[in-house]
Amino acid sequence: MLFNSPEFLFCFLPIVLIGYFSLNHFNQIDLAKGWLFLASLFFYSWWNPMYLPIILGSMLFNFFVGKALNKQKDSNSKRWILIAGITFNLSLLIFFKYTDFLIENINSLTAGHISLLHITLPLAISFFTFQQIAYLVDSYQGLTGTYNFFNYGLFVAFFPQLIAGPIVHHSEMMPQFYTEENKNFSYENFVKGLYVFFMGLGKKIIIADTFAIFANHGYGNTASLTMLDGWITSLSYAGQLYFDFSGYTDMAIGAALMFNIKIPINFNSPYKALSIQDFWRRWHITLSRFLRDYIYIPLGGNRNGEFKTLSNLMITFIIGGIWHGAGWTFVFWGFLHGAGLIIHRLWQKTGLKMPNIIALILTFNFVNVAWVFFRATTWTDAINVLSAMFGIGKVWDLQVTVLIDIYAIPMALCGIVLLFYKNTNQLLQEFSFNTKHLASAISLITLGMLFINSTTANDFLYFDF
């Protein structure tokens, strides 16, 4: 079920909200949590019920491993339990996500003919696996409490964040489900949630899906792109990805807020970043946090000298790259960002300063070029787009062929303006119950409804990862 589908907006969300707060109202607190947990599983299995045993199995396994880690006093045994737990999670992820990729590479190296398994990737497996690995590591460090299965299941499967994050930490979620005041319906949270949700909806169906028209056309015809086409294509994808993913996150934050649950922000105007380091503090913040806490720091972080620090950065970002998808283009995208961070770190050591505007342009263009490898399905496509952008092997041609729908251009221009406007978090902080916000909420809702009724709901890009 997609957040931008009528079945979610008009059926699922209202029914789950009414059920949850009614049960809480009659003091059926455990039942209310059970209701929310079951609703989340229903939400998950809407795409394909075949995936349900996988997520349930994964939750049960990690719940009991977490319990074992909490009980175990012997540090050596604890260590082995943790290793077994992480191995299981990674094996599950590798099997579903990387088996065919590994077979392809083995075939290439050995000129072999091992048949591909064509395994379908269960939805959200990358997200719920990372979330649970973090839980196991924290249990090993004695940072988790004793939860019952429904509470644990709700932390993993809570539907607003289940499919594409934010990757939440148990310490920021579990207490909220226990807080007494969160059990009562709050008009304030509901209105704010609604406001953020419709802001996200607008980002997705008005802006991101408009950029997608140009990006998809460009990436579908990379061989014939002119220089301008190359830039429009890459910039459109940069816009599409940001509005799509941050739109999804806004909807997740908004939907959770309606249940009085605050989930962490995931974006903070990333294209305003002044360096790659700054970019990763603003883009997919919860993934950056996970990579830092559970990969970079355990690798040694910056504690073992400069060379080790730089290599830890590179390893972390290559893992981040492959987490996004099973392909060498994703690995290269991760490598580019790792290299960007290393160069930034070395630059900082020189003590030189760059004017902000130049830093912004440089950072944005670096990110934009790297997105080409992230989006392109083949190396050839990536090289074609970049060659077009930089006029390599092309006749100087200013013709534009990717702007296939002229009626979409004004919406794309609005998107560009919005990139430099206040972000959702800032707008939410400013929100108050006044006429200005009343007008803005009504506009968002009516426009959202118009666009929902106009298009066939498109998947969110991060569902593929």
């Binding site: 709050s186 008009y187 304030e188 509901f190 209105v191 609604l194 009626y407 119950f433 006044n434 006429t435 916000h437 009343l438 909420a441 009504i442 809702i445 009516t446 409804m449 118009l450 666009f451 009724n453 106009s454 298009t455 066939t456």
Partner: protein, 320 residues
């Protein structure tokens, strides 16, 4: 303002705005979906795919006894000129058989169709499946309020008031579905276009997608099951182009002919007896689309076939 009051105001104003907009669209009913009215003459202003698909719900089945389906090659046949029958031209620019089947299903299900004319050209069966999301049952509700609807109003305003007559002429697609796209095209020299193809020894593709072939066969069978007379015609190809591609084209024709039975009528407008017409450059506007002369020729042949096989409702056989 407190949160509860804010929520109440947001809900009331948003719902009222939406209700007013939906009611307005319901009563305007630009696609004839919501109000039964046999006397309306509904035209297409933009987005031919969605518009004709929506018209296939009520307007076409309620008002027409026959339809033509095909790609752009038949879209510019003005069926209004055949006075003996009410025929809607449900052809769509760039459409394949999968997309046209959506319209056929709607019209057959809801109307009392007597015949369907199929324009046979390799374009119809070179691929299958929907080429865009523009033909979708969800569009039905889009007629109550959507961006497509707003765009349609805008084009209605521009076309009917002739605000940009050179770019968006009025009456581009009339109430019989005739797409007079010649109005929007730049003038081409058909002689040059055709001879260029011949010079390049360009063999027009005659590839048939097996799934599309099955879909066409299934569509014809469906029409037969519903006692609807099937009349198909091979759209005229410039003889000069056909001459360098005869073998492939005849193979294509034979493959198509296997889908029809004796009950059906199939006209070969590329038969040698029409050579004088198909080799005349004036029959075309480019390397294949029909000029007014070409349209007259095709419509004439279709009318003849209809008169021989389908009794006009307002004419008795003896009066023909």
């Amino acid at each position: 303002m407190e949160a509860k009051k804010f929520l109440l105001k947001v809900s009331i104003i948003s719902l009222s705005t939406i209700a007013v907009f939906v009611t307005f669209n319901y009563f305007l009913d630009i696609y004839g979906l919501f109000r039964p009215d046999d006397q309306r003459e509904l035209k297409v202003y933009t987005n031919e795919r969605t518009s004709k698909y929506l018209l296939s719900y009520h307007y076409i089945p309620d008002n027409f006894e026959g339809i033509i389906i095909g790609p752009s090659l038949s879209a510019n046949l003005n069926t209004k000129t055949i006075k003996e029958y009410k025929i809607y031209n449900a052809s769509i620019m760039g459409a394949n058989i999968s997309e046209l089947r959506y319209l056929v299903d709607n019209i057959v299900e809801r109307g009392n169709l007597r015949f369907v004319i199929i324009c046979l050209d390799p374009y119809l069966t070179k691929d299958h499946g929907k080429k865009s999301a523009r033909i979708d049952p969800k569009e039905y509700y889009g007629a109550l309020g959507s961006t497509n609807l707003i765009k349609t109003y805008l084009f209605k305003l521009i076309r009917e008031n002739e605000l940009l007559p050179d770019k968006f002429p009025n009456n581009i697609i009339n109430d019989y579905g005739y797409n007079n796209f010649n109005l929007e095209l730049k003038e081409d020299n058909p002689r040059e276009k055709i001879l260029e193809k011949v010079r390049q020894k360009s063999t027009e593709t005659t590839y048939v997608d097996p799934a599309a072939e099955d879909e066409l066969g299934a569509t014809i069978a469906y029409l037969r099951q519903n006692n609807i007379q099937v009349i198909a015609y091979f759209s005229p190809v410039p003889h000069q182009i056909l001459a360098i591609n005869t073998e492939n084209y005849r193979a294509y024709q034979n493959r198509m002919l296997r889908l029809f039975t004796e009950q059906d009528i199939v006209l070969d407008l590329n038969d040698l007896r029409f050579k004088a017409i198909t080799s005349d450059f004036n029959t075309y506007i480019d390397h294949g689309h029909l000029s007014e002369e070409g349209q007259k020729f095709v419509l004439g042949e279709l009318k003849q076939a209809l008169l021989e096989n389908v009794q006009p409702r307002n004419l008795k056989y003896s009066e023909r």
